[in-house]
Amino acid sequence: MIEVSHLKFSYPSTTSLVLDDINLQIRNDEAVSIMGANGSGKTTFSRCLNGLLLPTGGNVFVDGLNTRDKGKNLKIRSLVGMVFQNPDNQIVSTTVEREIAFGLENLGIPTLQMRQQVEKILRQFDLEKYRRRSPHYLSGGEKQLLALAAIFAMAPKYIIFDEPTSLLDPYLREKILHTIFDLQLEEGITPILITQFPEETLRTQRLIILASGKVVLDGKPAEVFENVELLDQIGISVPPLFRLKSPLMKMGLWEVP
C-alpha cells in the first residue's frame, strides 16, 4: 500500500503550494487513474510517490517505507516504477535490447536471468524485430512502447504511467492498456495511470481528480464523471456520453458504461 498523509509540496524558493494537504491510500488490489488539468500538481504528486521529490510537509509511505528515509531510497524506486510522458527523457541506451537490459543490470540481476527476461519482454511488447535498432530511429510511438517495456522488465510492484499513451495510435494505446491491466491481474502490479483520456480511466476501479494541488473528487470513474459542471470548471475532459446523460435518460437509452 502507498499511504499519503498530509502531503504538502512547494518548489524551492517559492511559497505557493503545488500540493496542498493530500491524504489518500492506494491499495495493491486496485488500478487507479489520476486526472488533472496542466498545472494541477498531478506530475508533482506522482514524483512524490516514488521519492523523486520529497514532501515539504507530511509523509509518503510505500509499503511502510517513508520516502524521507534516505537509506530506503533505492528500495522505494525499485518498488515504484515510473514511465514518463516523453520517452526521450528516459531512453539512454544505443539499442533496443540494451535499453531493456539497462535497468536489470542496475538491479544486479545475473546475466543469464537478465537475457531471459529481455527476450520475454521483447516478445511481450512485439519489439523483437527492432532489437538491434537504435532507439533514436524509432517513431515517437515505438519509443514510448520501449520506455514502457524497460520499466516492466524490472517488475516493480507499482507503476506510475505519466500519460504513457499520448503519442501512441489507438491500437497501440489499447495494447499498452491491455498490458497494464493484464499485469495487474497476473503479476499483481498496481498501475497508477495519469491520463488526459477520460475513456481510459473507465477501465480502472478508481479515479482521483486533482485541482490546484488538492483532491477534489475520488471514486469510481463512472460516478466521478457525473460531476460534469465541476469537471468543466477545473478543465477536465469528460467522455461525451456523460454530457448526453440527461436526454438519453429521458429517451430510456442511458446505460452506465
Binding site: 496542466n38 488526459q196 477536465i236 461525451p240 429517451m251
Partner: protein, 291 residues
C-alpha cells in the same frame, strides 16, 4: 501555396546499418495539397507520417521522386529551401526541445531576426501571434521559455512559427500532452487559421480532434498512402479504420449507436454540441407530443 509530391520515397541512410537497410520509411507517395486546405494525416505509429511532413518544406529531400512547391522542385533548387521553410512552418512533437534563448521574446524573435526583419515589425507580429494564441504579451515576453506549462510551451513554439508569417502550418501531434482546456484553445486557434485562409496540415492519432478540424484525410500505412479522400468517406469505412489501427471518433460512434437504437439522427455528426442540441430537441418534441 501548393504542395505536390510525385512518387516520393525516402530511406534513412545515416546511422546504424540495421536501420538503413531495405525499408523505405515512405514509398511512392503522390499527393497534392492545395492552398487553404485543411488536411489530416493519420496512420499507425511508425507509418511514416513525420517523415512525410518533413518533405513538405525540404527538411528531408526525397531519395527518389519529386517535391514541388508552387512548381519549384526542391531537390533542384536547394537555394530556395530557406524561403520555403518560412512559408511552410512545421510545429513538431515536444517543440520545447528546440528552445534555447533566455526569454520568450528572444526565443520567438530568433527566426525573424535571422532574416533581418526590423525589430518593430517583429514586435508587432509577435503581439498579434500572442493575441491569437491567448498569451498575454506583457506578462510572458520576459519570462524564460523553460518555465512554462506544457500548453504554454506549445503556444510559444507556435508563436515562433507564426511570426515568420507562413502560408502553411503543419502540426505534428499537437494535442499530445495538452489538457482539455489546452485542446479547446488549440481547436479555436486552428479554426481561426481557417478564417485567415492558411493551409493547415494536422498529424494526429486523436481522431476526435481530426474529425472536428479537417475536411480531408490522408492515411498512411507502412510508408504508403492507403487512403486519400473526404473525412466522411474515411470515418464511415470501419474496415479501413481497423486496417489503419485507428478508432472511430467518439461522437460519430455515439451517433451510430443511437441510430442502431432506432433514433433518427442525421449522419454524420462529428461535434458534441450539435448532437446534444439534436437530442434535447428530440426529447422536447416528444414531451410536447405526449402532453
Amino acid at each position: 501555396m501548393k504542395i505536390r509530391l510525385e512518387n516520393v520515397s525516402y530511406r534513412y541512410t545515416q546511422g546504424i546499418e540495421a536501420f538503413s537497410g531495405k525499408d523505405d520509411a515512405i514509398r511512392d507517395i503522390s499527393i497534392e495539397i492545395a492552398s487553404g486546405e485543411f488536411v489530416g494525416i493519420v496512420g499507425p505509429s511508425g507509418s511514416g507520417k513525420t517523415t512525410l511532413i518533413q518533405h513538405f518544406n525540404g527538411l528531408l529531400l526525397p531519395t527518389s521522386g519529386k517535391v514541388l512547391i508552387d512548381g519549384v522542385d526542391l531537390t533542384e533548387h536547394k537555394k530556395r529551401l530557406g524561403e520555403i521553410r518560412r512559408k511552410i512552418g512545421i510545429i513538431f512533437q515536444f517543440p520545447e526541445f528546440q528552445f534555447f534563448e533566455n526569454t520568450i521574446y528572444d526565443e520567438v524573435a530568433y527566426g525573424p531576426r535571422n532574416l533581418k526583419i526590423p525589430e518593430e515589425v517583429i514586435q508587432t507580429r509577435m503581439q498579434e501571434a500572442f493575441q491569437l494564441l491567448g498569451l498575454d504579451f506583457q506578462e510572458f515576453k520576459d519570462r524564460s521559455p523553460f518555465q512554462l506549462s506544457e500548453g504554454q510551451k506549445r503556444r510559444v513554439a507556435i508563436a515562433s512559427i507564426l511570426v515568420m508569417e507562413p502560408d502553411v502550418l503543419v502540426f505534428d501531434e499537437p494535442t499530445a500532452g495538452l489538457d482539455y482546456q489546452g485542446v479547446g484553445r488549440l481547436k479555436n486557434f486552428v479554426k481561426e487559421l481557417r478564417q485567415v485562409g492558411k493551409t493547415v496540415i494536422l498529424v494526429s492519432h486523436d481522431m476526435n480532434f481530426i474529425a472536428e478540424m479537417v475536411d480531408r484525410v490522408i492515411c498512411l500505412k507502412n510508408g504508403q498512402v492507403i487512403f486519400d479522400g473526404t473525412k466522411t468517406e474515411f470515418f464511415t469505412d470501419t474496415q479501413l479504420l481497423k486496417t489503419a489501427n485507428l478508432k472511430e471518433p467518439e461522437v460519430l460512434r455515439l451517433v451510430r449507436f443511437l441510430r442502431g437504437k432506432g433514433v433518427k439522427i442525421p449522419f454524420p455528426i462529428y461535434e458534441l454540441p450539435p448532437l446534444k442540441a439534436f437530442l434535447e430537441q428530440l426529447v422536447n418534441t416528444n414531451l410536447n407530443k405526449n402532453n
